[in-house]
């Protein structure tokens, strides 16, 4: 028992020290950023990102730091990564639009018809859309159960059942749409100018060039090469070194 207590205490101390160290690093990085020492801030944020790869705030700060270092491709990549989890975050959206303006990036989402009609869908994350769908399903099933148990007003319950059913169908299609977006593999060009080849080799012919900040879909991998597809339908192979994968 004594051993168990001492082990728990030691673990607690270790976790506390680690947490304090991380907080100091965050503060340090903020100070570097404030004083325009973006290189120093970047190295700290990168180390934190390795430890906490899914922390949205760290990803966002990385985007900002890269932006300040004129690495606009990286900045767009990190912003897209952050927005994948938190699409309603206005700060991320704003900074992403600024970065896109600087590289004249072609954002397919903003131009598509579905986004013109259902623009608000952009603000729903996969998690939120799933939870909405599940809550509506719960409402539907609960109403059905009440009907079975013959409790409350049967007519009212039927009406509720129809409404819940319709909304559930809508939320389900919404979830499918968000899931397709979530599961899509995307990337951003991080080099100033990148040649896209007809196959996974530099000996093959160059099809076209893309510039820093250009966003694309990933079709398949072949070693250090990726087959990419642009929003205009152009396809080609590019070396992974010039790309940022989201």
């Amino acid at each position: 028992m004594k051993y168990l207590v001492s082990i728990c205490f030691s673990l607690y101390i270790l976790i506390s020290i680690s947490y304090a160290n991380n907080m100091t690093l965050i503060e340090q990085a903020s100070n570097y950023y404030k004083n325009n020492k973006f290189e120093n801030a970047l190295s700290i944020y990168e180390s934190l990102h390795k430890k906490f790869p899914n922390n949205i705030d760290i990803i966002y700060n990385l985007g900002n730091t890269h932006f300040k270092l004129n690495n606009h491709g990286y900045a767009i990549g990190f912003y897209l990564k952050a927005i994948k989890w938190d699409p309603s975050n206005s700060d991320i959206r704003y900074n992403l639009s600024l970065a896109r303006e600087l590289v004249q990036s072609d954002s397919e989402q903003e131009n598509s018809i579905i986004y013109t009609i259902l623009g608000w869908l952009r603000f729903l994350s996969i998690n939120v859309s799933f939870n909405i769908m599940m809550i509506l399903l719960l409402g539907f099933l609960a109403t059905l159960r009440f009907i079975q148990l013959q409790k409350f007003n049967r007519e009212l319950l039927f009406n509720i059942l129809i409404v819940c059913g319709l909304f559930f169908i809508l939320s389900f299609s919404m979830f499918l749409h968000r899931y397709a977006h979530y599961s899509e593999e995307k990337g951003v060009v991080i080099t100033k100018k990148l040649a896209v080849y007809s196959g996974p080799s530099e000996t093959l012919s160059i099809l076209f060039y893309i510039h820093e900040g250009y966003e694309f879909r990933i079709n398949k991998f072949a070693g250090d090469w990726i087959e990419i597809e642009l929003s205009n339908g152009f396809k080609g192979w590019a070396p992974i070194s010039g790309l940022f994968l989201i």
Binding site: I26, S30, F52, N64, Y94, L98, N127, L138, L141, L144
Partner: protein, 585 residues
Amino acid sequence: MIGNIISLFFLFFLTLSIPLSANASDISVTASVTKTKLSINDILEYKITISGAKTQPTINESFLNDFSIINRSTQQSYQLINNNFFSSQIKSFQLRPNIEGTIIIPSAKLTIDGKTFETDPITITVSANTSPSSTPNASPSKMPISKQGVSSSGIPQGSSKDLFILAVLDKNQAYVGEEIIYSVRLYRRFSAIDQLLYQEPKFGMLSEQLERDQKTYTQTYKGIRYYVQEIDRRSLFSYESGSIAIPPASAEVQINFFYGSQIIQSNEISINIIPLPETNKPSDFSGLVGDYGLDVDVNTKALVENKPIAIRLSVGGSGNLKQLSTLSISTDSDIFKVYQSSINDLITYVNSVKGIRHFEYIMVPKVDGSLSLPVFSFSYFDPKTKQYNVLSSPSQTVSIIDAGESEIQFANNDSQNLITELRQDLRYIKESIDISKQATPFFKQVFSLFLIALNIGLLATTIFSFIAKSSLFRNIIQRFSLKPSKQAVNAIEQIKSTSDWSINDVQHHIFRFLSSILNRPVQGLPLSEIIEELTQQNIDTSTITDLESLLDQCSFLAYSPDSSNVESKIDICDKAIDIIKRIKT
């Protein structure tokens, strides 16, 4: 037909010639005067309008040798369209002719961008002054200063004691360019007059009419009580030193119908104009005399490299503000390009000439970084302190933003006080980061998993409940449960082993078995109908007969419990088991 073709060709060439002629006349220079007939003491304004010039023109003023230049001023307006400056300048000269007769103002020669432009000559007629005493070189007559601070010379000669006009000045000595208040008052012993037509004198200096006192009051002058009324009030500015005489003003007065009208003249007055001191005279002194202040308005938050911003400077005070046509600018032209944009006046003419002259300059920062704004200054002579004063805009260090770093939207409509974004920059980093907060997909989130579990549970319950209530389910249950014959036999065997049982239990199990055979509930049916249906099911006749007698026996025992004993009950159970087994086979 040929006529129509010629007309079309003519129109075609006319259309082509329009843009060509427009290009050829990019710079135009014209001259004008405010009046072409004047007396020797009058001042005329000569204006040269230059439009389309991108640089400052140079003018050789030697063509104005026949005139004394009292004042020079330049008005400029700039427009910035598609990064090109379009300017329009008006160079004004206030001139007093030196000679009488017909004078031709020769062509003004201006050099703009290395090219020489000429205006058209203008002919004016200068007449001699009607009153010899009104010439500027006439000998001054010192005026006594009255109690009210005015100079007067008593009742003018030739005027009646009952009706006269008196001209007065607020001072008998003034500096060159200093404001002198001139006032003409009508003194009358009559309570009212019908009509008065006032004729101002030729001042021989710059005059600005002021708002006269509309009230009539009484005043005792040389022992006689008069009704006094101000009929003229103006500010005079002399730009020549020496003693200057102001000729008499005249007025035609009609007291009433019986008296008829009479012309009366005021006294002649003179003033001594003293030159401005040369000591400590600033190099940029423009001749401004009076009391002034300087106010600066510039939005220092909007300074971006190569983007023009406006600075507004307001010179306010009492005196001839129009004398100040430009401000001195102290700046490095490599850092700031400064262009005069416009001049607007807000001047009141009430008791004296007072107001504000707004200067607008366009500044274009050529480099980025922390820089000092250009310093704008002007000098004036204060007659009260008898000193030159220099007023400057405050030295201000501002931060100039690099133009290439970000897109900037300027507030072109500052005057409308609209809130506009001056600069777009990133939203700031997150300083307080919760490290433990990791983004996880829904299938790893507790809440989502809880919702899934809840839904699955509810769905399962609903489905089970639905199935349980359906006949299909019951059939399935039946199919998978024990056969009815076996169930009935087991149940009756169990009844046999218990001591406390009734014949109804046996009867119930028999009927239940029969119900399963006939696929309908048989309890309550007449026995004859059960027998008939069993017969239809091809059950052996003897078995049916035995069943009939057994059921009769059960009914009898059920209604007469006293006659039943244990042995007969067991016998009935055995019989029932036997009949069930026989029906089953």
